[in-house]
């Protein structure tokens, strides 16, 4: 108990308050859009956290995240057509996304740097065509380019789906935090800084890179499947789309690559921009592209990097670590 009270700082208190607000949000009778904004924020946050783990902490610029979320989404959709309940499809789909990550890790981990980026860029493009051609169930009218409806989720309300998204976002943040504190995090940092040196010091670089890749695939898959349960249908063109990669990359880099707070701030900005400029879809991405380039040139660690240099941050840090009791 004493150890617990010692850890109870204002920073933790703030986190707890924010989480509680997020939990009770859907039953507060707020306008419906608010829940939707927060839902998208949580989905993007889970994916961005995992991308931050790969790109920021391991140095793997993975452009194949749409493959994982698409595979998991498709497994849920197809599962509901053959009588698998949605929750089993959710877990199973994410697990299959993880297995898929193991399978593609053999060719893509032979590549490094830019080769890895392009090798992974190809994967969702190939999957899109495969899902255009592959038509396991549904007869003439469904499947292929037309996509699938997700059946028998009538008993799920928006609040339920929202809470699932919240759970996944929290899991992603906790997993990231735990990995960074563990020996695995140390191994990842050594690979990022100098892979050859790490390998010659006895770090099994292949295996240690596969862990975050697979964990990232699993959680990205969970988040994607929840998104498609919310959307109610899935089709290949929008699923295996660079659009997802853009959102994830923008959120992480604008907020701050290689910082734990970065994806949170970046995702808030991406969601706000998305809804402010929803009517002008092109402008939203154009502005995000400009922000991305400018941020990268001014401060490679994103907004968190800028804030860290100011005096306000040291004040904030002192405030957050102050003990309550």
């Amino acid at each position: 108990m004493k150890a617990l009270t010692q850890k109870l700082t204002t920073g933790w208190l703030l986190i707890i308050v924010v989480v509680v607000i997020l939990v009770i949000l859907p039953i507060l009778n707020l306008p419906r859009e608010w829940t939707l904004y927060c839902f998208l924020f949580l989905i993007y946050l889970a994916m961005s956290n995992m991308w931050n783990l790969l790109a920021g902490y391991t140095g793997l610029i993975s452009l194949c995240q749409p493959a994982f979320l698409g595979i998991a989404g498709y497994m849920v959709a197809i599962g509901t057509w053959v009588g698998v309940p949605w929750w089993a499809g959710l877990i199973g789909g994410a697990a299959i996304a993880g297995i898929f990550a193991i399978l593609i890790s053999f060719p893509v981990f032979r590549l490094s740097g830019v080769y890895f980026a392009i090798g992974t860029l190809v994967v969702p493009e190939a999957l899109r065509i495969i899902f255009y051609l592959w038509k396991p169930v549904g007869g003439e009218l469904h499947g292929a380019g037309a996509g699938y409806m997700i059946k028998e989720i009538g008993d799920l309300s928006m609040a339920h789906i929202y809470w699932m998204a919240l759970a996944v976002a929290l899991i992603s943040a906790i997993v990231l935090h735990v990995i960074l504190k563990s020996k695995l995090g140390l191994g990842l940092a050594s690979i990022r800084d100098n892979e050859k040196a790490a390998a010659s010091c006895g770090v099994n670089t292949f295996r240690i890179k596969v862990y975050p890749f697979v964990i990232g695939a699993f959680i990205t898959g969970l988040a994607g499947a929840i998104f498609y349960i919310y959307q109610g249908y899935i089709e290949p063109a929008a699923t295996f789309n660079v659009k997802w990669t853009m959102i994830i990359l923008l959120a992480t880099v604008i907020g701050g690559l290689r910082t734990e707070g970065g994806p949170i701030i970046g995702t808030i900005i991406v969601v706000i921009l998305y809804f402010l400029l929803a009517r002008y879809a092109g402008f939203s991405l154009l502005i995000q592209g400009i922000i991305l380039v400018v941020i990268m040139l001014i401060s490679p660690q994103g907004i968190v990097g800028i804030v860290r240099k100011t005096r306000f941050y040291s004040y904030l840090e002192r405030f957050a670590t102050k003990r309550l009791i």
């Binding site: 790109a55 140095g59 610029i61 053999f106 060719p107 893509v108 032979r110 590549l111 740097g113 830019v114 080769y115 980026a117 392009i118 090798g119 860029l121 190809v122 994967v123 493009e125 190939a126 065509i129 495969i130 255009y132 051609l133 660079v242 853009m246 990359l249 880099v253 690559l257 879809a281 092109g282 402008f283 991405l285 154009l286 995000q288 592209g289 400009i290 991305l292 380039v293 990268m296 040139l297 490679p300």
Partner: protein
């Protein structure tokens, strides 16, 4: 029976010329700066739209429009290298990659705002015509693509071997420090290399527009094709790029004929992944 295999083969060779043309700029930037320019596909499409603008407003022939498009793309390329990429190299390993991604995003969405997402094409009287080879008919635009690719390849090769700037670019790509000690201004050379790559992108954009309809989002597809060509042909080798383009073009048309049109792009992706896994430096790479 001979006609069955002959048609896709010839089409593949001609199409491969276009692919090589698209990939040449990517290969050059990759060879000189070790940078995968993720914006290359979108820069090629930007070339198509520039030509489209010139053709629509000035009523010029697409090929003549290059007189305007080439200087514009040269300037854009030089500016991108000087103000964005040049700085990005000093920041970190992943910064140039992310900035290239940002540039791709900016170009794609500017095109979308300016030209709407409708599909466009550069149509001329001769681009829809066809020529006959034996008893078979082939589109003239494909032949033009192939001729343009060969001319651009030879011109680039002569430029790299014979001119001072070309030699400086080659030197900087082989050993940056040694080039610096020989009195070469690396930053300037990189700027010119990127600008010349963009000139080839402008030419590729015009011929692409005459062959296929394009939309603001076509860039990604052509980036992967260009990357496939570079991966098959090996880095920085102009001849390898042409061979890579031909191999990819032939594979694609053969797959389209015998396995159905939907597999055309799939075969490209599979080839890229397999070659990446087996021989990342390319078939003709050093």
């Amino acid at each position: 029976m001979t006609g069955d295999i002959f048609t896709p083969l010839v089409m593949g060779v001609l199409l491969g010329g276009l692919y090589a043309l698209i990939a040449m700029g990517l290969s050059m930037v990759f060879g000189v700066m070790r940078l995968i320019n993720l914006a290359h596909g979108d820069l090629v499409i930007l070339g198509s739209y520039l030509a489209y603008a010139v053709v629509t407003f000035l009523g010029l022939d697409p090929i003549v429009s290059l007189v305007i498009c080439i200087p514009v793309m040269f300037g854009i390329g030089f500016a991108i290298q000087k103000y964005l990429m040049g700085r990005a190299f000093g920041i970190s390993g992943e910064a140039p990659l992310i900035i290239a991604f940002g540039i791709a995003l900016i170009i794609q969405n500017s095109n979308q705002i300016l030209w709407t997402p409708l599909s466009r094409g550069l149509t001329t009287s001769y681009s829809l015509a066809s020529f006959s080879l034996g008893q078979l008919q082939f589109p003239v635009s494909y032949l033009l693509d192939f001729i343009a690719a060969v001319i651009v390849m030879l011109a680039l090769r002569e430029f790299l071997v014979r001119t001072y700037l070309g030699k400086a670019i080659t030197a900087a790509s082989q050993n940056k420090r040694a080039a610096l000690l020989m009195g070469i201004n690396n930053n300037l050379v990189y700027g010119f290399a990127f600008a010349i790559a963009m000139v080839s992108a402008a030419i590729a954009g015009v011929f692409l527009g005459m062959t296929f309809p394009f939309t603001p989002t076509s860039g990604t597809q052509f980036l992967i094709i260009a990357f496939g060509v570079v991966i098959i042909g090996g880095l920085g080798s102009m001849f390898g790029t042409l061979v890579g383009g031909l191999i990819l073009g032939i594979c694609q048309t053969l797959a389209g004929t015998f396995l159905g049109p939907a597999t055309q792009m799939l075969i490209v992706y599979v080839i890229v992944l397999v070659i990446l896994a087996i021989r990342p430096q390319g078939l003709f790479g050093r």
